[in-house]
């Protein structure tokens, strides 16, 4: 009960404020003080749309890479392999049996199965041909150990125990491969984030120039607002509301196109799975689905760009106003 009361007490002022704002909006029939036609809209909307599209592609690519890398990592870390190197005098069958036994009694191991002679032959077929007799060649043999993902074993202890039982056994938990994969994915994510920041900075700078242009074009309005006693924040708000609209419209257009593209690519790869082009993409990125995280990222980006546009224009107006001599805002 207590928490419900606190919750409503927290929300009530916000609701009251929202209701006030709505009512004010409803009653506000007057024309905007800075006319929307005087703020160069279309070019800026297109610029913001292009920038958001590029930023969304980056978000999508980063999501895709990190999700695919995570999938690979999961698949790999679900299994480890033990390789037994043949040595003079080693009874391979006994060694395989011993490794299987050690593995099976270790907690966290779901299953341990040796790669059968047939499977090993198949594995080596491309290099050594079909008529391979394993007993005649010193071929390393593998035991595949499935790991319980929720309760993985202690790999170091398992390695020590395996080597005690069979000195020729080498446990490969794919850490080197996984760490290279993670490093590659991280590098891509870092690069993507860098590109995203650059795109957003370029968007903000475009808005700075557009705001300065709008202020210069509406100089008379700024002057009039000054001498009727408007505060700088009020003047900034008059510009900001246009830029918020421009930013949101542009960002929705650009982000919407990007979402459409991702969706279309996902559909295309799903429906063309047999074809080599789609297979290539599927091999790299799975089903080419950016998932809800990607779509959410693009959604957040749309609002972020909208508010970035509004905030940048507000900041620019306040900065410009503060540069004007405090006692000579009206004329030079």
């Amino acid at each position: 009960m207590q928490s419900t009361t606190d919750y409503s007490a927290f929300l009530q002022p916000a609701f009251a404020r929202a209701r006030d704002l709505l009512e004010r909006r409803k009653t506000e029939r007057q024309a905007p003080i800075v006319p929307s036609s005087s703020v160069s809209g279309r070019a800026l909307v297109i610029t913001v749309a292009i920038m958001t599209f590029l930023a969304s592609l980056t978000v999508g690519a980063v999501t895709l890479v990190s999700e695919t890398a995570a999938e690979w990592q999961n698949d790999i870390s679900r299994e480890i392999t033990v390789q037994i190197i043949p040595r003079e005098g080693l009874d391979m069958d006994a060694a395989l049996a011993s490794v299987e036994e050690v593995a099976r009694r270790t907690s966290g191991v779901a299953a341990a199965t040796r790669l059968t002679d047939a499977a090993t032959s198949r594995l080596l077929e491309p290099w050594l041909g079909a008529e391979l007799e394993l007993t005649e060649l010193p071929v390393p043999r593998l035991v595949v150990i499935s790991i319980d993902g929720d309760d993985p074993p202690n790999f170091d202890a398992l390695r020590t125990e395996l080597q005690a039982a069979v000195p020729q056994a080498e446990l490969d938990d794919h850490r080197a491969w996984v760490s290279r994969l993670v490093a590659m994915a991280n590098a891509m994510i870092l690069t993507g984030s860098g590109v995203l920041v650059l795109v957003l900075v370029a968007t903000a700078l475009t808005v700075v120039f557009a705001t300065r242009g709008a202020m210069a074009g509406n100089r008379q309005i700024v002057e009039v607002l000054h001498f009727v006693g408007a505060r700088s924040e009020f003047i900034a708000e008059q510009f900001q509301r246009h830029f918020l609209r421009i930013g949101l419209v542009g960002a929705m257009a650009g982000g919407g196109c990007a979402i459409g593209l991702f969706w279309g690519m996902g559909l295309w790869t799903a429906s063309n799975q047999a074809r080599p082009e789609a297979d290539q993409i599927s091999a790299l990125f799975g089903s080419f689905a950016i998932g809800w995280v990607g779509y959410l990222g693009v959604g957040v980006l749309i609002f972020f760009v909208g508010f970035l546009t509004a905030f940048t224009s507000r900041f620019t107006v306040l900065k410009q106003l503060s540069l004007i001599d405090m006692l000579s805002p009206v004329e030079n």
């Binding site: 007057q30 001498f227 505060r231 405090m326 000579s328």
Partner: protein
């Protein structure tokens, strides 16, 4: 309300265009500011409404020394000073109603709270029929009255008007003068910059006469 002490003004490195101005605009006073064209009336008015800094001397407006004012103090002081510009400076994309209501809108008031006051004032200046007209469709006299209404809407302590009768015919000029006198009776100090001696002769108000950069006061 406004006090000038040995105020001088020069633009850039030029000669002083206003020299040694010492005078006071008292509460509820009525005065004309006059002088030949180019005598510096507009510059003096700009100093009066804090749009121009003097190059020497001190100015105090509504009890505050202008030299010590910060940027953030200016709006609250400007809200107590009504200004009528010679070129009106109405916003062409707003109606008469919206132009006149602008100072109240800027103060964050809701339209309901001031609608009737604005309508009353617009009717008082004789523009009731032009309530929703755009300034681009209005005559000089109509714009002049809309600009005056905008300056008066928040009942300023001081009204500064630059050539408020410059764009109107003599009957309208007389009507506007009566309007200013009525306003003055309600407690507002009025400064009217004009070179229309016909207008000044209609009432025996104080005259601040600018000539060759100096000010002569005829009470």
């Amino acid at each position: 309300m406004i006090r000038f002490d040995n105020v001088g003004l020069r633009y850039d490195a030029g000669e002083e265009i206003l020299r040694d101005l010492t005078f006071e605009i008292r509460k509820q006073s009525f005065q004309f500011l006059t002088g030949p064209s180019g005598a510096g009336k507009t510059s003096l008015l700009r100093m009066l409404f804090l749009a121009l800094r003097p190059t020497r001397g001190s100015i105090s407006v509504l009890g505050r020394d202008v030299a010590t004012l910060s940027r953030r103090d200016l709006p609250s002081i400007r809200r107590r000073i009504g200004i009528v510009f010679q070129d009106f400076r109405l916003l062409d994309h707003l109606t008469t109603f919206e132009n006149v209501a602008l100072p109240l809108r800027v103060r964050g008031r809701s339209e309901e709270s001031y609608r009737q006051d604005v309508v009353d004032l617009i009717e008082w200046v004789g523009l009731g029929a032009r309530m929703n007209a755009s300034p681009v469709t209005m005559s000089g006299g109509e714009k002049q009255r809309a600009a005056i209404a905008r300056a008066l809407i928040d009942q300023p302590d001081i009204l500064l008007a630059d050539e408020p009768t410059g764009n109107v015919d003599p009957p309208m000029a007389r009507r506007l003068l009566r309007l200013f006198l009525e306003l003055n009776r309600t407690g507002t100090a009025v400064v009217i910059a004009t070179h229309d001696f016909g207008l000044m002769d209609q009432i025996g108000a104080r005259r601040l006469m600018l000539g060759e950069g100096r000010l002569a006061i005829h009470d």
